[in-house]
Amino acid sequence: MSYRVERMTTSGRIALLIGAVALGAIISMPWWASQGLIRDVITLACYIAVAQMWNMLAGYGGLVSVGQQAFVGVAAYAMFVLAQTFGVNPFVAVGLSLIAPALLAVPIYLLLHRLEGPYFAIGTWVVAEALRLVATNMPLVNGGAGMSLRVMTQFSAHERAIAGSILAALLLLVTVGGSYLLLRSRYGIALTAMRDNPVAARSQGVDVQRLRFWIFVAAAVGTGFAGAVYFMVQLRITPPSAFSMEWANLAIFIVMVGGIGSIEGVLIGAVIYFFADRWFGEYGASYLIVLGLLTLMTALFFREGLWGLWRRKFDAPWFPTRRTLVQGDR
């Protein structure tokens, strides 16, 4: 009698196939999609990336942040300065700009991890606010007036669409694919243990502090990547837009409504948020009241989100991370 550990499921294989096809479709967009559609897909990819990074922080790391816009803004600004001020190729600049959030995340974590639970969250908010004020007062980034990415005019619309589509696919691959790989690895077991009970995880030999530190830095880089791509497509950046609370807002809404602690939930939540924003965004304040109340209701009565509801009925994960013991040989 022999046993083996199985992680992949049929639903997982199908999802992987669909994911690969979707990435291929995104990369090939410049040859079949309209400019508007390409822009929408890139925006959606940025939402998914920012939300998934928040999911890793809050859903697994136990680090609730309301200041992820700090990393969106810092990476986007680094990208603008490199490309516009120093003449680096903008697409290379997107890659180089990721150094900024990585370097910044280290001192931020070392300062803020001293704060207990909810205070950590407000602390991240203070940091994002401070960075917004720094950008507003900084001549290098043209202060509160913001910057335009005029260097992009040297590329044709088609070239920009190709770069944007490849970056969007890469962004999804790194944030969603990267999270999936991480959760399937040894570290995934440690993270899941930490999510369920940090004290018990520590007693089993999980170095909770170190793991949290690396999750925080990795989430900063992923969030920054999304910021750099988003503002490269926007072609314009100002301190209030780069360090906007909206980023924290959408990440929290997407993860909570979709279902915290699952990648599937983020995808569902992001699609809902994207279309809600498209269809009801014009109602401004009333739309945001509903969005806020939905977040509130989810936290009060419906903590597992939509994916949790689905999972109760059907056992068919798209990104299976659970290990099951199977008896017998193949």
Binding site: A130, I289, A299
Partner: protein
């Protein structure tokens, strides 16, 4: 002279921040939760007060007298209807719930009162000042500071010497043990939040008299309250008061260096305290 004036202005500003910070320190001390709508409630109460003044012709002191009980009622309701469901070891539910409420509240205020900045007329008291030595000190900021000191002392005395204070400290130390000896945590919590938001009635009146309020201002007040609490040291009422003074002085001096630097100076001092003395100025190392 220039700098002494800055420090005096800062301490007076700190009086207002202390009124924001007291409630936050109290709620965190008892329940270990942060109410993200803390700042939005200041703005909500201020806007209600301004509307009362406009429609019912109330003076600033009558506005204060109505806002404090309204604040207490809102706090009690908030705790009973919502926060009691999310108090616990996991910080996520309470944070997310109040975060969502904060977005809803800000936008609801935008619908009701529009994005205009408004202020409360104080009937001339805003312009009055008295001469102390070589300095002119505004009467209103002085009243705010005295009020803040009395509120801090009063709250400290309630916690130390009353029956309610004892049950609150018991619930804060060990909620299960407190429940065993006859303390009802849910009603203790509801009273604590009622006190916290009731104090915001003072803050709201003075904020609306000293400067202006607009629906989107709440997050800033939340951040100032938070910085004051952390600078002073967690769970200490007088610590929050001192933290508010330090924050006020940092901002006032920052404003004198460069008007764009004032608020940032406060954030920098907050981060510096976190780096050098994370337990806060007042807290002993545990």
């Amino acid at each position: 002279m220039h700098w002494i004036e800055g420090i005096v202005q800062g301490i007076l500003l700190g009086g207002l921040y202390a009124q924001y910070a007291l409630g936050m320190a109290l709620m965190f001390g008892v329940m270990k939760i942060v109410n993200v709508t803390h700042g939005d409630l200041v703005i909500l109460l201020a806007l209600i007060g301004i509307s009362f003044a406009d429609f019912a012709g109330l003076g600033p002191w009558s506005v204060l007298a109505t806002l404090v009980p309204i604040g207490a009622a809102i706090g009690w309701l908030l705790q009973r209807a919502m926060l009691n469901r999310v108090v616990g070891n996991d910080p996520l539910p309470s944070l997310i719930a109040t975060f969502g409420l904060s977005i809803a509240l800000q936008n609801a205020m935008l619908v009701v009162w529009s994005a205009d900045t408004r202020s409360l007329s104080g009937g001339g008291i805003q312009q009055a000042s008295i001469e102390i030595g070589p300095l002119f000190v505004g009467v209103l900021p002085l009243i705010v500071l005295i009020c803040a000191t009395l509120l801090t002392g009063g709250l400290d005395a309630v916690l130390r010497f009353t029956r309610y204070g004892r049950s609150l400290r018991a619930a804060s130390a060990d909620v299960e043990a407190a429940a065993m000896v006859g303390v009802n945590p849910k009603s203790v919590y509801a009273t604590a939040t009622a006190i916290a938001v009731g104090i915001l009635g003072f803050a709201a009146t003075f904020q609306a008299m000293r400067s202006t309020v607009a629906p989107a201002d709440g997050p800033f007040q939340l951040i100032y309250a938070f910085e004051a609490v952390i600078i002073g040291g967690l769970g200490s009422i007088w610590g929050a008061f001192t933290g508010a003074m330090i924050l006020g002085v940092s901002q006032a001096i920052g404003f004198r260096i460069n008007p764009g630097f004032g608020i940032l100076a406060g954030h920098i001092v907050f981060l510096a305290v976190l780096a050098i003395r994370p337990q806060g100025i007042f807290q002993r190392k545990s």
